[in-house]
């Protein structure tokens, strides 16, 4: 077969040079630099080690580093210590938790519980990220789950807790898997976005239109059933032209139904039974979504992971990818998306490459002569407001509550299990889960106060009052069992206390003028040093430097 031979030869030619290319993070830097032009003169300095270590811990583990972790990193003499730290953090359960939070908020938008226990969903995400499940597999599981088996309840939450409402589900599949908010194309071709024809909305809805929410009469559990019939028709409110469509993903070929079987059902739907057709339109969605010919799928996730790490998407808003809203760096987005595909949608691979880039590792302090640099030029590292989860975990880290809790949980586990050894990976994980569980209610408190309906930064007076006066936070600033205030209280001098405070809470040494300012502040509490130390800590916890990842 000469044709096949040619094809293979062509593929070989295409893929051969790939091995000689520099690693992705260097190609990222080249493409970013290429757009900076003369503005490159105002490039920020590279991030210092202390700047880097705090940023990396926040981005990868969702919390600031402990003081010993900072010291360990700074004392590591290896040239590639940053790379070592990246690899170390990517394999921690904290990283899995960070991605769990990120994808939970992205996919579920903090929607209230309807049919699936949020813990089942969260556990599913946590395990998925812990084993570094590919985005391809994760997406496929989310879109094909029916929730009929106990084991798939968690992953079925994406569909079930939207009640499988067609409008809501189609919109969110478009936004989170394809980077396109097709809502406006529901009633007519999008008036100003040529790339969003009405056909896209209905082509997508045809995958799920036959599916419905089935409530088991005995267990009362809702799962997804499907009928073997039902077509999608739509009419533009502008033209009154009637159309119909079978399942069709964006501009990809329509997926025609096979010839109907004589008996179209495996299980015929009725009040007592969940309908299962022989040919399921819904089950065509996952394979079509993750297929290599669906470029939107990889562009979307590449853009979202870039935004997670860099603070803004190459396409903004993240769900408005179309020809009239091009990426700031088209070639770069293609590179990320294609490289991700070539690495089998390995999220950890892409995140690793992103944080290894010089672009990521710039200082957030803008050069003196660049007062208002355009964010999309990446001349300095973006300020990223901590998410409610990051803020909660970082605060608990800073005041020593995580370590306190870890010790308490370790004591419990050791008492309950003879030979419990947190040096063993599985038992370390067990301990980590126990810590998560013990601190969960505090995280919820922070979510209640700090979560915004949209993901944009929206600070409020209510939040400031919480940070300044809330009693829970006050209670964390009382000395106990080796926590931060206990350590500060035990210092011999205010100068020592100031050193510790800066290292623990801001992950960096204090500068001279900062020492002076804080010493003066502490002096005003002379009679009550402990109160002074607690208030100095609280002031730092309320500062912008703590509130942002920088």
């Amino acid at each position: 077969m000469p044709l096949l031979g040619l094809l293979i030869a062509a593929l070989l030619v295409q893929s051969a040079p790939a091995q000689d290319l520099p690693p992705l993070h260097q190609r990222i830097d080249q493409l970013v630099r290429a757009t900076q032009g003369e503005m490159a003169d105002t490039l920020a300095a590279p991030a210092s080690d202390t700047e880097f270590v705090r940023r990396l811990y926040l981005d990868l583990t969702g919390r600031i580093p402990t003081h010993p972790a900072v010291q360990e990193f700074l004392n590591n003499p290896a040239d590639n210590r940053r790379e070592q730290l990246v690899d170390q953090l990517l394999s921690t359960p904290q990283h899995a938790l960070r991605l769990q939070h990120t994808f939970d908020v992205m996919l579920m938008q903090r929607l209230p519980k309807k049919h699936v226990e949020p813990t089942a969903w969260q556990d599913y995400l946590f395990s998925s990220f812990l084993q570094n499940k590919s985005w391809k597999q994760l997406a496929s599981e989310l879109l094909s789950a029916d929730g009929a088996e106990q084991a798939t309840r968690g992953q079925a939450r994406f569909l079930l807790d939207r009640n499988l409402n067609v409008d809501e589900t189609v919109r969110d599949i478009g936004r989170f898997f394809l980077g396109r908010d097709l809502q406006c194309a529901q009633c007519h071709d999008h008036p100003s976005i040529g790339d969003y024809p009405q056909q896209h909305y209905y082509g997508l809805s045809a995958f799920i239109k036959r599916s419905y929410l089935f409530t088991d009469p005995d267990s009362k559990l809702a799962s997804i059933g499907e009928k073997a019939e039902g077509d999608v028709k739509f009419t533009s409110v502008f033209t009154n032209e009637e159309n119909s469509t079978v399942p069709k993903l964006l501009n990809l070929p329509a997926i025609e139904d096979p010839k109907p079987a004589e008996d179209p059902y495996v299980t015929k739907p009725d009040n007592k039974a969940r309908g299962v057709p022989r040919y399921s339109r819904r089950q065509q969605l996952a394979p079509a979504m993750i297929a290599d010919d669906n470029a939107a799928f990889r562009l979307n996730i590449a853009n979202r992971l870039w935004a997670l790490v860099m603070g803004r998407g190459l396409v903004e808003p993240l769900d408005m990818m179309h020809a009239d809203n091009p990426p700031s760096h088209p070639e770069l987005l293609d590179l990320l998306a294609n490289d991700l595909r070539d690495h089998d949608y390995d999220i950890r691979y892409l995140v690793r490459q992103l944080v290894l880039s010089k672009t990521y590792q710039l200082s957030s302090e803008v050069a003196a002569d660049a007062s208002d640099p355009a964010a999309q030029l990446y001349l300095s590292s973006a300020l990223k407001p901590l998410t409610p989860e990051q803020l909660a975990w970082s605060t608990m880290q800073a005041v020593g509550l995580i370590e306190q809790t870890r010790q308490a949980e370790l004591a419990k586990l050791t008492a309950d299990n003879e030979g419990f050894d947190p040096a063993q990976a599985d038992q370390a994980l067990q301990l980590e889960r126990a810590v998560h569980k013990a601190l969960e209610s505090h995280v919820t408190t922070y979510i209640d106060v700090f979560a915004s309906a949209n993901s944009a930064f929206g600070p409020t007076a209510k939040q400031a009052l919480f940070l300044e006066n809330n009693e829970l936070l006050s209670s964390w600033l009382e000395p106990a069992n080796g926590n931060l205030l206990d350590q500060l209280n035990a210092t011999a001098s205010n100068d020592d206390a100031i050193s510790t405070l800066y290292l623990v809470v801001l992950s960096r040494p204090a500068r001279d003028e900062e020492r002076q300012a804080m010493a003066q502040f502490l002096d005003t509490f002379a009679a009550d040093r402990l109160t002074g130390l607690a208030q100095a800590t609280r002031a730092i916890l309320c500062s912008a430097e703590f509130r942002f990842n920088h």
Partner: protein, 423 residues
């Protein structure tokens, strides 16, 4: 006039910038006298450019027949008479004798048809100017975004209500513009500093916090950090004005009434005087499926005096010229009286009152038929009203919100304001 009825029309981009330029740089200096208008400066400052909005939300659905659109002696008119008002020829229900004397400050819209009898749907339509579930912001959040000065001495949008409705008022505008809900006149959470801290110590800590920020912010993009810092100023203002939540003046309570709604109206006046841009007061309890008439005697008896006192005070101080007042529900009540002497949900032919901020006064917009069963003239819905409020406030409701580069029409592009109400 050609209208773009698409979802994201792009032709109004510039008008938004223009009106922002026009309303920028509104002043500080609105802090001062709390009790009455002892400080002329306050009133003068507030009278000048700053526009604001007072929303009185009659939750549950006030009966139009027992309020703004009485039909005594008709089939469904009910037992109450109508009374003359300060506007010749305009009559309202006898349950509103005090308000009747202030009707020259208001206009009445008698032709609202929302096409829904659902509490939530109706409320959303009236607040967002859009039908159905959506991420659109409430009028109060829109006003907070575009009219509240960045150095506003109090949160821009305050809602006084006793029931914990979880309102996502800001929608896609983001939580900075969300309402701050006050549980009646109870202070917000975390308003008290830690007991063991003296005021002096607390204020030193606050100064120290600002000092900490200076170095950090000196070489970082300002916008984010500034918006974060602004919330500490608001928190400080709320803490400094804890007196707002303490004892209200006895003299004023004599005028407003000592029941909850009276106290809330007095609080609303204080908040508006002190610089809040949108104050919403919810008066609960109009969902009168049974005993509609007895309940309206009670409810409107509570409403009438405090509301008219508040309206009169705003007029006297000159603030009414720049304060849009809207008195509204999520729907009205059925003309037909049910077997429990109740009236049920009725979204298709009902009324509201509005005034201030240059809105035409003494006008009656639209009409229902003799029995009050349908709108026969100038039918409007939440979308028309939404445009009307915003345009009265000087906001171009045909412009777009710019949400991270996404253009979203402020008002529904398919409808227009009620021109008769706009001067």
């Amino acid at each position: 006039m050609k209208r773009n009825t698409g979802c994201h029309p792009l032709d109004h981009v510039h008008s938004r910038r223009n009106f922002l330029a026009g309303t920028a740089a509104l002043g500080a200096g609105a802090m001062a006298g709390l009790d009455g208008f002892s400080s002329q400066l306050v009133a003068d400052t507030l009278k000048s450019d700053q526009k604001r909005i007072l929303q009185i939300y009659m939750q549950g659905g006030v009966s139009q027949l027992e309020s703004w659109d009485p039909k005594p002696g008709t089939l469904y008119g009910g037992p109450f008479q109508s009374i003359p008002t300060s506007v010749p020829g305009l009559r309202i229900c006898e349950l509103l004798p005090y308000t009747a004397q202030k009707m020259h400050l208001l206009s009445v819209v008698r032709s609202i048809n929302l096409n829904t009898d659902d509490h939530h749907q109706g409320h959303m339509f009236m607040e967002k100017g859009r039908r159905g579930e959506s991420a659109y912001p409430y009028i109060g959040s829109v006003v907070n975004k575009y009219l509240a000065p960045t150095d506003s001495p109090l949160p821009g949008f305050v809602h006084i209500s006793t029931r914990g409705l979880t309102d996502n008022t800001a929608g896609f505008l983001g939580s900075s513009y969300a309402q701050m809900r006050l549980e009646g006149i109870v202070p917000p959470d975390n308003l008290d500093r830690q007991q063991e801290l003296s005021e002096q110590q607390f204020s030193r800590r606050r100064d120290f916090r600002s000092q900490l920020n200076q170095q950090f912010t000196s070489r970082r993009p300002k916008a984010l950090v500034d918006s974060y810092d602004a919330t500490f100023n608001q928190a400080a203002q709320l803490m400094a004005r804890k007196d707002l939540f303490e004892k209200q003046s006895e003299d004023q309570l004599d005028r407003y009434g000592r029941h909850d709604f009276g106290r809330y109206c007095l609080m609303a006046r204080t908040l508006l005087e002190e610089g809040s841009t949108c104050v919403k007061v919810t008066h609960h309890g109009y969902d009168t499926h049974a005993e509609n008439f007895n309940f309206h005697v009670e409810q409107l008896g509570e409403f009438d005096q405090p509301f008219s006192t508040l309206l009169g005070d705003l007029e006297e101080s000159g603030m009414l010229e720049s304060t849009l007042v809207m008195v509204y529900s999520e729907f009205g009540r059925t003309p037909k009286i049910n077997h429990r002497y109740g009236r049920d949900h009725w979204g298709s032919a009902w009324s509201m009152a509005l005034g201030g901020c240059g809105v035409q006064t003494g006008a009656v917009i639209g009409a229902t038929n003799d029995k009050g069963t349908e709108v026969v003239d100038h039918e409007v819905h939440g979308g028309h009203l939404f445009h009307t409020y915003l345009q009265a406030l000087g906001i171009d409701s045909t412009a777009n919100h710019d949400i991270d580069g996404r253009e979203i029409p402020i008002g529904d592009p398919a409808v227009e304001p009620i021109k008769e109400l706009l001067a």
